[in-house]
């Protein structure tokens, strides 16, 4: 149990930003992010008891995150919170100007991603987390060559969307 706690906390520290960014990439309404985030944390805690260290924690955490977000039903969600989203958007409001510009760019990127289909959102989220094509393919269940083709198409779509903004 102690060991499980320690591993859990270290996973939380290492992956919390990544988990949340993936939640943002996938959800068209990001105000549900905290609910999904909690579901992911719960799934990681429960799954940790049976985790066989065949692969690293990374792919395992990403699989749980992607699958939990995929099955998340906002109609079942008990509460809607904008708090986490606001954390990202508001965090640097009073900082330097270029930082504010960065936030704007980030928001534009979110908007462009949310215009994509759900599958593409998930795929680009994993790509932006710097996962290899093989890892993305194994998480989603498609071949790595297919991942490559799709990512190129998605990048073009995002670029078009960003140009429109």
């Amino acid at each position: 149990m102690e060991n499980q706690k320690e591993i859990y906390i270290s996973i939380f520290n290492e992956y919390r930003d990544k988990i949340l960014r993936l939640c943002f990439a996938y959800l068209d309404d990001r105000s549900y992010a905290e609910d999904v985030f909690q579901e992911v944390l719960m799934a990681i805690w429960v799954g940790l008891k049976k985790f066989r260290k065949e692969s690293g924690y990374g792919t395992w955490v990403y699989r749980i995150t992607v699958n939990t977000v995929f099955l998340f039903n906002k109609h079942e969600s008990k509460k809607k919170s904008r708090e986490i989203r606001d954390n990202i958007i508001d965090s640097s409001v009073n900082e330097m100007e270029h930082k504010i510009q960065q936030e704007k760019n980030l928001e534009q990127l979110y908007v462009a991603i949310s215009a994509l289909e759900e599958f593409d959102r998930m795929l680009i989220g994993l790509y932006l987390e710097k996962l290899k094509y093989e890892e993305i393919g194994s998480i989603l269940g498609i071949s790595s060559s297919h991942v490559g083709v799709k990512i190129n198409r998605i990048k073009e779509k995002i670029q078009k969307q960003l140009n429109l903004q």
Binding site: F12, R21, V46, N67, T68, H75, S91, E118
Partner: protein
């Protein structure tokens, strides 16, 4: 694009307030316990309710082979339905959460179909069996009544049980439409998109 994406970080202080390290594990453990307790409560309720009905029934002095047969049929059908609802209801197992999303989508799709079968096939079947059992339970008890009164009693019992069942079923159907239809649509889209 990657760089921009990676820059999105949470405000550490605010995040630490939301999920304080010392509270994180207790929070998750209590959430897990709450879910387990809910399941225990439901099982316990059925286990208490059924013997209570039996005792009440025996206290009414209805002890004939037909009434016993009826009680057997009724209780068995209730137990079967409770077990079925528990076993067949949509639930993603821990191991399934670490499968590839495409495989999980296939599994989830099958589970949704099973869930649908619950209220289109199994539950209506349960109603018929439970109604037969329930009417048999009181068959001998009402024997001394006038035929018209007997028929009326049986009709009232059948109607009451059927209405309660239909109300329960419609709640379930509404829940299905709200919970599972969006997931079903998402799975269909996901599968077709993964091939394109």
């Amino acid at each position: 694009m990657i760089e921009l994406w990676q820059q999105a970080r949470l405000d550490e202080t605010r995040m630490d307030n939301l999920y304080r390290k010392e509270d994180l594990v207790p929070m998750i453990v209590s959430l897990e316990k709450r879910q387990q307790n809910l399941l225990r409560f439901k099982t316990l309720s059925v286990l208490i309710l059924l013997p209570a009905i039996m005792i009440l029934f025996l206290n009414m002095g209805i002890v004939t082979p037909v009434s016993f047969l009826g009680m057997g049929i009724f209780i068995t059908s209730v137990l079967v339905v409770v077990i079925m609802l528990n076993r067949l209801r949509f639930r993603i197992k821990d191991g399934e959460r670490t499968l590839s999303t495409l495989r999980l989508a296939g599994i989830a799709e099958k589970k949704i179909q099973t869930e649908k079968k619950l209220f289109t096939t199994y539950l209506p079947l349960f109603l018929v069996v439970a109604l037969i059992g329930f009417n048999l339970m009181f068959f001998d008890y009402l024997m001394e009544e006038e035929p018209a009164t007997r028929i009326l009693y049986h009709l009232v019992m059948t109607g009451g049980l059927a209405v309660a069942f239909i109300v329960g079923l419609s709640v379930r159907i509404r829940r299905f439409q709200k919970q599972f239809l969006p997931v079903q649509e998402r799975i269909t889209k996901f599968k077709s998109k993964s091939k394109s």
